[in-house]
Symmetry: C2
Subunit: 184 residues, 2 copies
């Protein structure tokens, strides 16, 4: 769990300056809910890995109900845009009959890339919860701050570090196994 | 045509520091080719407008052949990710049977947003040519520089300002007509 100046059990929400002056914290019950949904995203990541994809998974939740669940599908679908987040957003919009998803929370095992962070803004999602940071290319905190700028017409509440170790380990093991075999 | 320190007829390619020290320029023949393809993107933008969409169009070209042509489809398809660029990339990948599109050029009437700029990177496209800048939310030059950073594993050659006036006017007229009727 990534904490910024708070007790380790308490995750600070990164939203409208919360990084500097934390005013909102998660309770143990909220953390338990986040971890429960992140386990679903992790299962989708493992399923993606079994298909030869980079093991990243996403689930989309509204009112504590699962709306969409997806792993990466770029190779499976021969589609450069088929990251887990994009696949899940499309499925959720279809299911809810609305291309604005203002009432949903998105759980992703890894910090979304620029494309996916931008898609979350386009969909107007309420909250993004992710596991491990992508320090090389992350579009939320690490490289670009697409989800909470003051010049786009939407901001997303961001929570990082949920089941961080499991999410990171899945990726590290995948790339360790693959190294020397496939060049991506 | 947006020029940086060059003769007005000559457009400087923005790539690996070209902005500061232009070393590559477009010939009149190259400009004619770019304008020809941009007219196709403009036609797709107009077709999107006729469907009630924001008038942005994209065409994807390889070896001077049209591979994909699309306008925005977010409302039409109830899909928050269905910007013209994403729709065209998916179509091109399906048609070419490859989720890496290293040999294609992408023409878009407006500077891509963060989602679409990120998608162009994911697809590893060779070149992006766009018409007018999106100063509020552009992901290429205006707000984020997603297409030519040194920390992502791909860089795209970028050309801006092709048929800039036509592309900008189409958007301005659309929003002028719509103002007061629909809140987006």
């Amino acid at each position: 769990m990534t904490c910024f100046g708070a007790h380790p059990i308490v995750a600070v929400r990164l939203f409208e300056g919360c990084l500097k002056e934390p005013s909102c914290v998660n309770t143990a019950a909220e953390i338990e809910v986040d971890e429960r949904w992140m386990r679903q995203a992790l299962a989708a990541a493992s399923e993606a890995q079994a298909r030869g994809e980079v093991p990243i998974g996403t689930c989309i939740v509204s009112e504590d109900k699962l709306i969409a669940l997806a792993g990466n599908r770029t190779r499976t679908d021969c589609d450069p845009t088929a990251h887990a987040e994009i696949v899940a957003l499309r499925e959720a919009a279809g299911k809810l009959g609305n291309y604005r998803l203002t009432e949903v929370d998105v759980y992703s095992t890894i910090e979304p890339c620029a494309m996916c962070a931008g898609a979350l803004i386009q969909a107007r999602v309420r909250r993004l919860i992710y596991g491990a940071a992508d320090e090389r290319a992350g579009g939320v905190i690490s490289r670009f701050r697409i989800c909470d700028t003051d010049f786009l017409n939407h901001r997303i509440e961001v929570q990082s570090g949920v089941l961080e170790e499991e999410c990171r380990t899945l990726m590290q093991e995948f790339f360790k196994t693959r190294r020397g075999r496939i060049v991506d």
